[in-house]
Amino acid sequence: MVILARMKLASRRQFLATLGVTTLGAAALAAGPARARPLDEVVQRNRLRVAVYRDFHPFSYREGGALKGIDVDLANTIAERLGVRPDVFEHTAGETVSDDLRVAVWRGSLFGGEPADIMMHIPHSKDFALRNPEAVLFAPYQRELFALVRDPERVPFADPADLPEEPVGVEIDSVPDFYLLGLDGGRLRRHVVHFPDPRAAVEALARGELAAVLAPRSQIEAALGELRARFPVAAVRLPGLMASSWDIGMAARENARDLAYAAGDVVTAMAEDGSLEALFRRHGVTYAPIPVD
């Protein structure tokens, strides 16, 4: 129980304040002794069960059979610093993240299997937290935003609204997809090329099949790797859409706040000692910390 003893009240407040649900948190703390203590259970079992998304390069994906990625490494580090064994499993994304929380975190799958103690890569916002009261959202670790990667000979400017009528790649059923299909009354509609994920789109760009790709920056950067020198990447705003950037954190069951604090402390420490940035860098991704208000 070293972690608990070391946990500072200040850091608890910081996490609650980030979420903007201080009153909820206080109520849960007051009710604390009557409830199960998920952190105790994790320590007793010597196992932290963590859900990550299936097929989600560069955050969680299979390579040569092994599960790899930013979220996987971060989950392993949290388990290690909590002094328990990691038990990371892949979750197939549902229609929305709320479905994922229900299946992977608080209710469990209808097909059985143990739910996660923690799920990685959960959007971190007050609105979203209020819509999902069964889960506690904590420890935001990356600011995600959309970026345009382009072939500079075909697309001179990094402005999605000014794209020429040339093939542009998107992930199917994503914000960039909807944005470009709807842009200027459908000016680019015939030129939007759909891919199962941003990595496949970037590969098509590298083959010369596309003029540009619009997708989350971290996924573009990781897919580009060495090709970054040839294809400039620029963060962009999608005018008229609210959703140009969002924060990524973790989720646990609503009654698992003590576990959330402990895991959150690990992430705070990793942000402070530079190991979080190093982790992102190892995967070829720019670490974009959440600005402190």
Binding site: Y53, F111, H121, D127, D177
Partner: protein
């Protein structure tokens, strides 16, 4: 062969019969005659046309009071979720599927279990709705059913042993299957379901003996079909009604399966809604989504299509069953078919060519279209009531839409009585507020989704069993039910209509007047499809009981209405004892 065995059984007594029970194979002829044969139920729909009509007449509004339970069978385990199946009966054995991809063979006389097949489901399945299954098919010595991990399994009907097990689609990409397969002239015909990220509707035929693929027909224009392992023809014309490459991932899932008309040798499959959900991004009709598509059973070639919701922007789907029947009008008999669509209209169509004959509302409120133009066959849209474009200027303006996206009628099949010449349609009266959420999330990323709340239209009922006259489009009678109806309908020559309710009742109505004449409380919600057959000179009725399906998952205000219904999982069998 069949007759020999039953004579033997009578002579030797039940115990010996049970021991010697090697039931005969089911021929193609047996399946084609299923609608008129009273001693068995060999197809989903009580006949491939799907009329759900039985010529049995011992049970009538007068005698039904004497209908009593014969036996009940528990599906067991902890897996008590929605039981939507229609049982089959062959040679004294009942075959019924349960939630979680299970198939049971039960002695139809005693309720004694003969065998049970529990499909091993892998982790990581994400079914959209519930873990239901809608029933099995039978042919030769095999029973067939589809599974939540998108496989088609053939079992020996006498032993329950797996004969073959074929992958229909990749469950890891979100594909699943819950519909009853259809067996037509030695081929097992299936649709597809799930895979919301880029699914394309598909109908496939496999050899019933070997499970080998014979043909495939994609339901979205631009895709190639196959026949005997080679490319056959393209569905429709590339980019005729789709912009850009959206046809590649156009939707149109055939998740409810199909029906077959032996007279015209035509398969009818309904198709789901187009993708993406925001209709403003895909101008055009988006063929052949939200349609009924008529297919040649030998080759999978498309004969005709009728699109019920061109350019669907409400998630209406067009999957509902197309039921073949003879329309007798003005001294003529027209080979027709009918479909009660999720979008609220009841369509009567010439089944030889797909021409619209009539269309009338079967629910009280339809906001998306004024009417269906009988000349053009197209809806007259009310443009203001189309959900707004989230990338347009008007953000977040809620639109009230009726029917709700769960449909004026969902999956639950209707019935047709050639005797009363009426269709019996299980309908629901609900609408929804639908708006663009400024921000939602999918797979950890920002997303533009739609928000919705389902609202009942009336205080005292949502469900309505309605008798529709296909000649006039008029509602002849209705029965109102507080909770939404979610089970199939059966009608008989004894002037009866049967259906179940979420409140737990199996109910019987006078087919001419709609008067409720019998009910039985099964202990959990009934969302299955009732059947009837004759055995040892007595008329039997069976239905699966077990609350579930999509309503409790998505109901909004409706969920409150049904939250106290207990889960279950059993089969109830009733009979009218000999006088």
């Amino acid at each position: 062969m069949k007759r020999l065995i039953s004579t033997f059984a009578l002579a030797a007594g039940l115990a010996v019969w049970a021991a010697a029970a090697v039931a005969g194979p089911v021929s193609n002829d047996d399946i084609l005659k299923d609608a008129t044969s009273t001693g068995d139920v060999l197809s989903y729909g009580l006949g491939p046309q799907g009329q759900r009509f039985s010529p049995l007449a011992k049970l009538t509004p007068e005698t039904v009071a004497k209908l009593v339970p014969a036996w009940s069978f528990s599906f067991g385990g902890e897996k008590q979720r929605g039981q939507e199946a229609q049982p089959l009966v062959h040679d004294g054995v009942m075959y019924v599927t349960g939630s979680y991809s299970r198939l049971f063979a039960v002695d139809a006389r005693t309720g004694q279990k003969k065998w049970q097949y529990d499909h091993r489901l892998p982790e990581g399945i994400m079914p959209c709705c519930d873990v239901v299954n809608r029933g099995a098919a039978i042919h030769g010595n095999k029973v067939y059913f589809t599974t939540l991990d998108a496989r088609l399994v053939a079992l020996d009907k006498d032993t329950g042993k797996v004969v073959w097990n074929k992958k229909l689609a990749d469950y890891q990409a979100g594909y699943s299957n819950t519909a009853a397969p259809l067996v037509v002239e030695g081929k097992v015909i299936t649709g597809n379901s799930g895979g919301e990220f880029g699914i394309v509707g598909m109908v496939e035929a496999r050899d019933a003996e070997t499970g080998e693929l014979v043909w495939q027909r994609p339901m979205v224009e631009g895709h190639m079909g196959t026949l005997n392992g080679k490319e056959s023809t393209m569905t429709g014309k590339l980019n005729a009604s789709w912009p850009g490459d959206l046809w590649k991932t156009g939707g149109g899932a055939t998740w409810l399966g199909g029906t077959y008309d032996p007279e015209t040798r035509t398969l009818f499959f309904g198709t789901g809604n187009p993708a993406p959900w925001n209709s403003h991004l895909r101008p055009g009709d988006n063929l052949y989504t939200s349609s009924t598509v008529a297919l040649n059973p030998d080759t999978g070639e498309i004969k005709w299509h009728y699109q019920t919701t061109p350019h669907d922007g409400w998630d209406f789907d067009g999957v509902n069953e197309f039921v073949s029947f003879d329309l007798k009008k003005d001294g003529q008999t027209i080979k027709a078919g009918a479909k009660a669509d999720r979008n609220g209209f009841f369509y009567v169509i010439d089944r030889t060519n797909g021409k619209l004959l009539n269309a009338a509302p079967f629910v009280s409120k339809i906001t998306w279209a004024k009417e269906i133009d009988l000349k053009t066959g197209r809806p007259v849209y009310i443009d203001d009531n189309r959900p707004a474009d989230p990338s347009g200027a008007e953000k977040g303006k809620p639109v009230f839409a009726a029917p709700a996206f769960l449909g004026a009628k969902n999956w639950m099949p209707m019935a047709y009585s050639p005797q009363t010449e009426l269709f019996y349609v299980p309908a629901n009266e609900w609408g929804m507020d639908i708006w663009n959420e400024p921000i939602t999330y999918k797979k950890g990323a920002a997303y533009l989704g739609a928000g919705f709340t389902i609202k009942p239209l009336y205080n005292d009922y949502i469900g309505a069993l309605r008798a529709m006259d296909p000649k006039t489009g008029k509602i002849v009678w209705e029965y109102k039910n507080p909770a939404p109806l979610w089970g199939g309908v059966l009608t008989t020559a004894g002037n009866l209509v049967f259906t179940g309710t979420p409140e737990g009742f199996l109910k019987a109505f006078d087919a001419k007047t709609g008067k409720e004449v019998w009910k039985f409380q099964t202990g959990s919600g009934v969302v299955g499809c009732p059947i009837t057959w004759e055995m040892d000179g007595e008329q039997y009725v069976a239905v699966a009981s077990g609350w579930g399906g999509a309503v409790p998952l998505w109901g909004g205000d409706v969920a409150k209405l049904v939250k106290d219904i207990n889960q279950g999982g059993s089969l109830w069998v009733f009979k009218l004892p000999k006088a």
